[in-house]
């Protein structure tokens, strides 16, 4: 088991955002989390790498407990990649600079090695020709791909994707999903919060449906789409498929 999430609770004031979420992920698996907005999906991701501390519950990355008070959180985070909805590329660095800074500063790589690595990752997401561009000079889709390259450059054990395409114009979504699909096929362990059903159908090993802070149902895509146990799940999937599903593969 690569990732184990056990009984996560999180509350903002009176708002109970997560009420006991547990699941696990094996190496190489791709899981997609779906659900209505505000059901804590993003919060869950942030609790996993402790960007947001959970009120209750534990998380393990392989043998290490992330939620332990004595955990070396920086070392752990260096093993988990995070792709944000709003990209969050470092505004003062070029694409190359962004991809390179993790290996350089966090892993202490030498500059030449880090640069070479960064160029390889940019190549992998199809943007090696934009290495010297600043974030403001790139389109949304390009920025998000750089952000994925930035995560990849750290050789993570797991990558968390927080609605990676929600902030993109429709015609740019495809290029990002393409990268994500190829990553999944190469065996990267990915936990993705998204509405893109086409993606889920293509590469997800499991779909997790969340509502009101709990996991309502989880299962293989085929099963979830055709034969969901809970009526609510089927309802939601149909609605989403109408809006997002077939158009973006």
């Amino acid at each position: 088991m690569l990732l184990r999430v056990e009984d996560i609770h999180k509350q903002y004031g009176k708002d109970k955002v997560l009420c006991g979420v547990s699941f696990g992920m094996k190496k190489g698996e791709t899981k997609v989390i779906i659900g209505p907005s505000g059901t804590g999906k993003s919060t869950l991701l942030r609790c996993i790498n402790r960007l947001t501390p959970a009120d209750q519950g534990r998380v393990w990355l392989e043998e290490e407990e992330i939620t332990h008070t004595r955990a070396s959180i920086n070392k752990i985070r260096a093993q988990i990649g995070f792709v944000f909805q709003s990209f969050n590329l470092f505004a003062h660095l070029t694409a190359l600079g962004n991809v390179r800074i993790g290996p350089l500063k966090v892993k202490g790589m030498k500059k030449d090695a880090a640069t070479k690595l960064a160029m390889e990752e940019l190549e992998r997401v199809g943007l090696s020709d934009k290495a010297d561009a600043y974030p403001a000079e790139l389109s949304g889709g390009q920025q998000q791909r750089v952000s994925i390259a930035r995560a990849l450059a750290m050789f993570p054990k797991l990558i968390l994707f927080d609605e990676p395409t929600s902030a993109l114009d429709p015609e740019l979504i495809g290029e990002v999903l393409e990268v994500m699909v190829s990553l999944a096929k190469e065996g990267m362990t990915m936990l993705v919060v998204t509405h893109e059903m086409g993606f889920a159908r293509a590469v997800a090993d499991e779909i997790i449906f969340m509502e009101n802070g709990v996991i309502v149902e989880q299962g293989e895509p085929k099963q979830m789409f055709t034969n969901a146990v809970h009526a609510r799940t089927g309802e939601f999937l149909n609605k989403i498929s109408e809006l997002y599903g077939e158009t973006s593969e």
Partner: protein, 265 residues
């Protein structure tokens, strides 16, 4: 105090006096220019001091936690609320009270330097706070420690975002160096004073000359900061929503809007 009571020598006709006046000013020009070099030295010293302490104060306020943050805030409040002249007196007459000798230059440099640090702290703090929170999040999510994130991600951006504010500060403190006059320090205004204390009818000309020196210095300073801004410019990295226009680089404050207004108080 001299000047106002000596009407007689200045009742010469304006036409005649103007050219003669300027001619009589000529021998004093070298010493005036030399004195203004002292102002420039003071300027450099106090800006450097202000930069170091200003950055420190800003960082303490944003990242320092309750105690250090409050200390920093109080420091800033004091050095912004007490008039520069009072500060000059305190730094000039204070140390001797405790048995430490201090030169006029050092007193002026410390007084005006710490004062500048309070304003620079505000500029820098505003810059830091205008950086989207996602930048810090992204840095932390890849395993950078807080300190690493601050130095590698936040500061480089804050530095660039502060440049317009610094241009402002620069042109102000150039002029504030004349306040050192009040503690008897021999900078350009005092030199000018010495000239017209004995040549009453040169007062106007000397003072206009000094005024012109400062206008030139201010223009030079603005040009310098413009160069700095261009050298470090990064596309897309500006105060959100406000592009620098040609106008604003001279009139200094128009383009900053609400955010700056709030933290300039």
């Amino acid at each position: 105090m001299a000047g106002s009571s000596l009407a007689v020598p200045s009742q010469l006709s304006e036409q005649e006096t103007l050219i003669q006046n300027i001619a009589r000013l000529a021998p004093f020009i070298p010493s005036l220019l030399r004195a203004s070099l002292i102002n420039i030295q003071l300027l450099i010293g106090l800006i450097a001091l202000g930069y170091v302490f200003g950055t420190l104060t800003a960082l303490l306020q944003v990242y320092g936690g309750k105690i250090l943050g409050t200390v920093a805030r109080i420091y800033e409040w004091i050095f912004r609320s007490v008039p520069a002249l009072v500060l000059l007196f305190l730094f000039y007459y204070g140390p001797p009270r405790f048995g430490i000798g201090i030169s006029g230059f050092a007193a002026a440099m410390f007084a005006l330097g710490f004062r500048s640090s309070a304003y620079q702290s505000q500029i820098f703090r505003g810059a830091i706070q205008s950086i989207p929170s996602g930048q810090m999040l992204a840095a932390r999510s890849m395993g950078m420690s807080r300190i690493q994130a601050i130095f590698s991600i936040i500061l480089p951006q804050a530095f660039r975002l502060s440049i317009p504010g610094w241009t402002n500060e620069f042109s102000s403190v150039i002029k504030d160096t004349t306040l050192a006059y009040a503690v008897g320090f021999n900078e350009v205004l005092r030199t000018a004073r010495i000239v017209y204390d004995t040549h009453y009818d040169l007062a106007m000309s000397v003072l206009i000359f000094v005024a012109l020196i400062f206008m030139v210095l201010t223009l030079a300073g603005n040009a310098l900061m413009g160069g700095v801004e261009r050298r470090f410019r990064i596309p897309g990295l500006q105060v959100p929503g406000h592009e620098k226009t040609r106008q604003s680089s001279r009139t200094s404050s128009d383009s900053w809007g609400l955010r700056l207004r709030n933290f300039w108080r």
